[in-house]
Symmetry: C2
Subunit: 254 residues, 2 copies
Amino acid sequence: MTTKSTPGSDTTARPSGQADRSTDDAAAPTERVPLTRQRVLATALRLVDAEGLDALTRRRLARELGRDVMTLYRYAPDQAALLDGIVELVLDELELPDEGQDWQTRLRRSAHNFRRLALAHPHVVNLLLTRPVATAFGLRPPATLRPLEHFLELLTTAGFSAVEAMRIHRAFVGFLYGHLLAELQDTVVNPDETEDLLRLGLHQLPPRQFPILRSLAPDLADYDGVRELDFGLDLLLAGITAIHPDSTSEGKAG
Amino acid sequence: MTTKSTPGSDTTARPSGQADRSTDDAAAPTERVPLTRQRVLATALRLVDAEGLDALTRRRLARELGRDVMTLYRYAPDQAALLDGIVELVLDELELPDEGQDWQTRLRRSAHNFRRLALAHPHVVNLLLTRPVATAFGLRPPATLRPLEHFLELLTTAGFSAVEAMRIHRAFVGFLYGHLLAELQDTVVNPDETEDLLRLGLHQLPPRQFPILRSLAPDLADYDGVRELDFGLDLLLAGITAIHPDSTSEGKAG
DNA sequence: ACAACGTATCTACACTGTAGACCTTAGACG
DNA sequence: CGTCTAAGGTCTACAGTGTAGATACGTTGT
C-alpha cells in the first residue's frame, strides 16, 4: 500500500456498477425528492434529537438521507454551517406570545415557551446557547433574531427605552439559559437507590466541606422545572417592574 | 517532520525530548519533571487560552509537553476528562469574596470576580457553561462545587432558607452565564467602518423586520461589560431583596 | 542480581471532515 | 436531432483525530 498518489496520473474509466439501490426504479419517485436544505437540516435535527450531538457526523447524516457524503456540502458548506442551521431550525419553532396581555405575563409565557422548546430538543440546547456567540448580530439568519426583536418591541411598547429593553433582554435570556442548563443537568447517579442523598450521589461529597449542599438532597430530588422557572421569573420581574416607567411614584433610589 | 507512510524507519533515536522550546521551563534536557496531572492540565489550559478550543488536540498537547501522545492518557483517561480538568483548573482560580460585608455587595463582588475570570479565559467559557451539565453534583470534583457551597452559605447566613438559596443561586448563576455569553459575543463585523450600523453589520438586517435592533447600533457599539453586569445585578438584587426575610413588612424600595 | 511495577513510547486502527476530480442529468438553444 | 452548459450528485483520497494493545524504559525493593 502507501502508494503516493501523484496528482492527475491514473485515469481509469470506472463503470460504477454499484447498485445497492435500484436506480432503474424511476417509477417510484418517493425517495428521489431533490434534497433541499430544509430536508438536510431537518434530518440532522432529528438525528441529534434521537442520538445526541455526537451522532451527527456527515457520513451518518448522508446515510440517513440515502445520499453520498459530499452531497451535503452543497447545503451546508462546513460543519459550523450545519450546526448553525440546526439552531436556526429549532429557533424557528419558537412561538412568540401573542399580544393582548400585559407585558409581565407575556414575558412569562415567552420564557415558558422557550423552556418547552428546549426540553423538546435537549441535545440542541448546548448549541442554542453557544453557537450564536461566534456570530455577530448582522451575520445571523433573521429567523434567529426574530425572538430578540419581538422581545424588544414588547418592552418598548410597555414603556421601556430601547436601551433598557436590550439590557433587560440580556438579563432575561441569561437567566433563562442558566435555568435550562440547570434543569437539563443529570442529577441522578443511582436511580435504584431510595435515599435521596445516595440517589443523587451527594454522599460522595465531604460532609465538612459541603454541609448545605448535602442537606439539599431532598429538595434537589423533587425538582420541578416549571416551579423553579417561575421563581426566577418572580425575582426578575420584581426587579424589572421596579424600574418600569409607570412605577415612578415609588421613586428610584440612586 | 514530513509525514511518511513507511512504518518503523527512523524511530528510536530520541534519547531526550526534543528541546522544542517548551514554554514553561526552557532549559537543560536533564530536566525530567515527572509530568503531573497539574502540569498536563495547565499546559492544556494555556494552549486553549492562546489558540482556542480547536487547538487542543492530544497530539498538539503532547508536542507542547515534549512527550508522547499516549502518555497523556495516564492523566486524562479520555477527552471528556481533559475538558473537565480544564474547567476544574479554571474554577480553582476563582476567588470567593471574603466575609465582612453585607450579602448584596458580596454577591456583587462574586459576580464581578467570575466575570473577570471568564474574560481571562474566554475560550474556556463555553466549557465552563456546558461541561457541568453532563456531570451530576456528586460526581463533580469538589473544586468545582466550592463556589456553589460558598454561595449557599453566604445566603443562608444572610437569612434565606437553603432552598431559597439554591433557587437564587440558579437565577444568579444563570444570569451571570447569560451575561458572559452576551459579552463574549463578537459584535463587530467591519472594524474599519466608522458608522456604527455598518461596523456591527446591522445594515444587513431588513429594516422593516428589525427596526429596534437596528436603532440600537450606537448603544451596542459602546457596550460596557461592567456597567451591563451591574445593571442586571440591580435587577436581580432588587428581586432577591424583595423576598429577603428581613424585608418582611418594610417593602423593597426605600 | 532479579523481579516487579509504574511510567513512557510505538504501532495500528477506525473514524472524522473535506478537497478535487469525476459522472449524471435536465434543460437551453441551434 | 445533436450539442452545450451548469447544477447536482458521486467517488477516491488524504490529513488529522481519539484511542486500544503491545512494547520498551527506569526506578525501586528484596
